[in-house]
C-alpha cells in the first residue's frame, strides 16, 4: 500500500462533494448585495438626497477601488481562514487588540446595514399592497412583519436555500436589465446624455454623500472569503468569485443608475427621484414596458429586500457567535441552538435591536426611507469603508513579516493603493456627512454619528486590554473564531 499517497484520497474526495464552486459563491455574494434593492432603493435615494448626477460613475469608480482592495484581501484569505474575516485579519496582521477593535466596528457597521433595511421594506411593499388590496398599513407594520420573518428564519437557521436564491437572483438581474432597456428605448425621446459618466457631474459638493451610499450598495461582496474553507479550490475559487462578483455588481449598478436618468434627462433625475423615491424605477418601467413587468419588479423588490435582510441578519448573528466562541463577548453568545444549529443568542440580540429601531422610528414619525434606510446605510457604509481600510493595512503588515510566496503587487502595492483611495473616500464622506443626513452643515448630529465609531474603537481598546489583563488565555484566542475552542491550528 505504498502507493496510497499518490492515489486520490477517498476522504478528500468525499468531503469535496460538499464544496462550493465559483458560481455558487458568486450567487451567495451577489444576493447579499441584493441588486434590485440597490437599483430601486438606494440609487433613487442617492439621487434625491445628494443631488449628485454622477452616481453611475461612482459605481464604476468604487468597483475599481473594491477590486484593488480585493487583491490583497483574497491573498490574505489564502493564508488566514476564518469565518469573521475582517477582525480575524486585523487580529493576525495588526495584533489582537486591533482585532477586537475591528470586531466592534464591524458589529456596528453590519448592524446599521441590517437595521436600515427595515426602512425600505415598507416602501417596497406599499405600492403592491395598494394595488392588490386598495390600501396599505403604515410602513412600520410592514417592517414589523419583515422583522418577525427575519427573526424567525434566523432562529430556524434558514439561510435561504441556494436554489431559491439563484432563481430570485437571476430574475432580479433580468428585471433590472429589462428596466434598463425600457428606459433606454422608451425614454430616449429627449436624446441620450452621458452626463452621469462625466467626472464633472460626480465631483461636486455632494460627492462624499453619493460615495457613501454607493459603498453600501457593495456591502455583502466582502463575504466571499468566508467561503474559503468550503470552496473547491482555496487558491482559485474565492479570488475568481470575488472579482467576478465585484465586476457584475459594479457594471450592473452603474448601467442601471445611468438608465434611470435617461427618461428624465440628467437635469430631471434629482427632482423625479425626490418626488417618487423607490417607486421611480417601477413607474418608469410601467410607462415603457407595461404594468405587468412593473408588478413583477415590485414583487422581486420585496423579496430582494427580505433576502438581503436575512443575509445581513445571519452575518451579524454569526459575527456575534464567533466572538462569543472566542469568549471576547460573554460565552452566552457562543451558544448554539441544539435543534436548529443556529447561533441562537446572536440571532435573538439582532432581532431585539431590530424591534427597538423600528419602534423608535415609528413613534417619532421619522421618514423611514431617507432617515432610516439611507442614514443607516450611509453610516454602515462609512463603517465598511473603515473596515476595508483597516483590512488593507493588516494585509500589508501581515505579509511584511513573511511574504509567504506572494507577489509584491498583491501584498504591498495593491493594498497601499486601496488604502489611499479608501482614505480619500472616507474624507469626502465625512466632509459631506451633513448632506447624507439631510441636516444643516453646522448640525452636531453630523459629527455625532461618525464619532460613534470612535467610541467603538476606544471601547474596543479598553475591552481588549481588560481581557488581556484578566483572561490571558482568552486574549490568546482572539481572531481564531470557532477554532478558538481547539486553540486554533497550532
Amino acid at each position: 500500500m505504498s502507493l496510497t499517497e499518490q492515489r486520490p484520497s477517498a476522504v478528500s474526495a468525499a468531503l469535496a462533494q460538499d464544496r462550493l464552486g465559483v458560481p455558487s459563491i458568486v450567487f451567495f455574494v451577489i444576493s447579499a448585495a441584493a441588486p434590485l434593492m440597490v437599483v430601486a432603493g438606494s440609487v433613487p435615494t442617492a439621487y434625491a438626497v445628494t443631488g449628485v448626477i454622477g452616481v453611475p460613475l461612482a459605481f464604476l469608480l468604487l468597483g475599481g477601488v473594491f477590486s484593488l482592495f480585493a487583491v490583497g484581501y483574497v491573498t490574505m484569505a489564502r493564508h488566514v481562514v476564518n469565518a469573521g474575516a475582517f477582525y480575524a485579519y486585523a487580529a493576525q496582521g495588526l495584533g489582537r487588540t486591533q482585532g477586537v477593535v475591528t470586531a466592534w466596528v464591524a458589529l456596528l457597521a453590519y448592524n446599521a446595514l441590517q437595521l436600515g433595511l427595515y426602512g425600505i421594506i415598507g416602501s417596497a411593499a406599499e405600492p403592491l399592497l395598494l394595488d392588490w388590496f386598495g390600501g396599505s398599513p403604515p410602513w412600520w407594520v410592514i417592517a414589523l412583519g419583515a422583522w418577525a420573518l427575519t427573526g424567525l428564519l434566523g432562529l430556524l437557521r434558514v439561510d435561504i436555500n441556494g436554489r431559491i436564491l439563484s432563481v430570485l437572483l437571476v430574475s432580479e438581474i433580468a428585471v433590472v436589465l429589462l428596466f434598463d432597456l425600457g428606459d433606454l428605448f422608451g425614454g430616449a425621446r429627449n436624446g441620450v446624455s452621458f452626463e452621469g459618466y462625466s467626472p464633472a457631474a460626480l465631483f461636486v459638493p455632494g460627492v462624499g454623500a453619493a460615495l457613501a451610499t454607493v459603498v453600501a450598495g457593495f456591502a455583502g461582496i466582502e463575504s466571499s472569503v468566508v467561503f474559503a474553507e468550503e470552496s473547491k479550490d482555496r487558491l482559485r475559487t474565492v479570488p475568481v468569485a470575488t472579482y467576478l462578483g465585484i465586476a457584475v455588481i459594479a457594471i450592473l449598478y452603474s448601467i442601471s443608475a445611468w438608465a434611470q436618468t435617461v427618461p428624465t434627462g440628467p437635469d430631471g433625475i434629482v427632482k423625479a427621484a425626490t418626488e417618487q423615491g423607490p417607486t421611480l424605477v417601477f413607474g418608469q418601467a410601467a410607462e415603457h414596458l407595461g404594468g405587468t413587468v412593473a408588478t413583477v419588479g415590485s414583487v422581486l423588490f420585496v423579496t430582494s429586500s427580505i433576502a438581503c435582510m436575512i443575509a445581513f441578519h445571519n452575518t451579524t448573528a454569526r459575527y456575534i457567535f464567533a466572538l462569543g466562541r472566542e469568549n471576547v463577548l460573554p460565552s452566552v453568545f457562543g451558544r448554539t441552538s441544539a435543534r436548529t444549529a443556529a447561533p441562537i443568542s446572536g440571532s435573538v440580540l439582532q432581532t431585539a435591536l431590530g424591534l427597538i429601531v423600528i419602534a423608535i422610528y415609528a413613534v417619532s414619525g421619522l421618514d423611514p426611507v431617507t432617515k432610516l434606510f439611507f442614514t443607516f446605510g450611509a453610516f454602515g457604509g462609512l463603517g465598511l469603508l473603515t473596515l476595508l481600510t483597516v483590512t488593507s493595512i493588516s494585509v500589508i503588515v501581515y505579509f511584511s513579516r513573511d511574504l509567504r510566496g506572494e507577489t509584491a503587487w498583491r501584498t504591498r502595492f495593491a493594498p497601499a493603493l486601496s488604502i489611499v483611495a479608501l482614505l480619500v473616500i472616507i474624507a469626502l464622506t465625512l466632509v459631506n456627512f451633513d448632506t447624507v443626513l439631510g441636516v444643516a452643515p453646522d448640525s452636531p448630529i453630523r459629527w455625532i454619528l461618525p464619532s460613534i465609531y470612535v467610541v467603538a474603537v476606544v471601547f474596543g481598546v479598553v475591552w481588549a486590554r481588560v481581557i488581556r489583563a484578566t483572561r490571558p488565555e482568552v486574549y490568546a484566542g482572539i481572531g481564531l473564531g470557532a477554532q478558538a475552542a481547539a486553540g486554533g491550528p497550532r
Partner: protein, 199 residues
C-alpha cells in the same frame, strides 16, 4: 452516545442533523480511542490519528473507519471529524439495529417513524447516569466523562441534561486524558465551524 442524542421512547433526534453527525463522529473516534485502537498524536501539528488495522472481531463500520485511517494517516483530526460526520448517523444507526439496540425504522406512505430504541430503559440509562452525576456533583466513570464532554462540545448539554452546570462540566472535561481533551476541543471547534458556515 446515540441514546442520549435521541428521545428514549420515540427515537426522535434532539439535535440538528449536522451537529448530531459531528457529535457521533466524535463519539466513534472516542470509542476507538478508549479501546486503544486509535491514538491521537499530540506531538504532530496538526494533530493526527494513528490506527491499527481492523481485526476479525470488529464490526463492518469499525473496520471501515480503521481502514480509512490506516490508508490516509496524514489527515488532521478535524478532517476525520468532518468525514465521519457525513455518514455517522446512518452508520451508527445501522450498527445499533444490527446489535438489536434499535428497532428498524418504519416507513408508511405518509409517516416516517425513526428507528426507536428496542428497550426504553437501556436507552434512558446513559443519560440517567449523567444526570445523576451532575446532580451529585460527582465525576462519572471515565467513559461517561467523554460522553459528557462531547455533549457539551455539540452544544446540547443544557438541552438534554436535567440540570446544567458549566463549571462541573468543565471540571469533568479537565479530568479527561490529554488526547481525549483534544478530541473534545476539536469536536467543539468543528461544531462552531458548522454553525458559522453559511449552508
Amino acid at each position: 452516545m446515540y441514546f442520549v442524542l435521541h428521545d428514549n421512547a420515540t427515537g426522535h433526534p434532539h439535535l440538528h442533523s449536522r451537529l448530531a453527525g459531528l457529535a457521533l463522529a466524535g463519539g466513534v473516534l472516542a470509542e476507538l480511542m478508549l479501546a486503544e485502537r486509535v491514538t491521537l498524536d499530540l506531538t504532530s501539528n496538526p494533530e493526527r490519528l494513528h490506527a491499527a488495522a481492523g481485526e476479525d472481531g470488529d464490526d463492518a463500520f469499525t473496520r471501515r473507519v480503521l481502514g480509512h485511517v490506516v490508508a490516509e494517516p496524514y489527515h488532521p483530526v478535524s478532517t476525520w471529524l468532518l468525514f465521519l460526520a457525513r455518514t455517522a448517523e446512518a452508520e451508527v444507526t445501522a450498527r445499533m439495529i444490527a446489535a438489536k439496540l434499535l428497532k428498524p425504522p418504519v416507513r408508511h406512505l405518509l409517516k416516517h417513524q425513526p428507528p426507536a430504541p428496542a428497550d426504553m430503559s437501556t436507552a434512558a440509562w446513559p443519560l440517567a447516569r449523567l444526570n445523576l452525576a451532575v446532580q451529585r456533583r460527582t465525576p462519572p466513570n471515565p467513559r461517561d466523562r467523554v460522553l459528557l464532554g462531547l455533549l457539551d462540545a455539540a452544544g446540547c448539554a443544557q438541552r438534554v441534561l436535567s440540570e446544567h452546570d458549566p463549571r462541573f462540566v468543565a471540571a469533568v472535561i479537565a479530568m479527561l486524558p490529554a488526547p481525549m481533551q483534544r478530541l473534545v476541543a476539536q469536536t467543539k471547534a468543528a461544531v462552531g465551524q458548522a454553525v458559522l458556515s453559511r449552508r
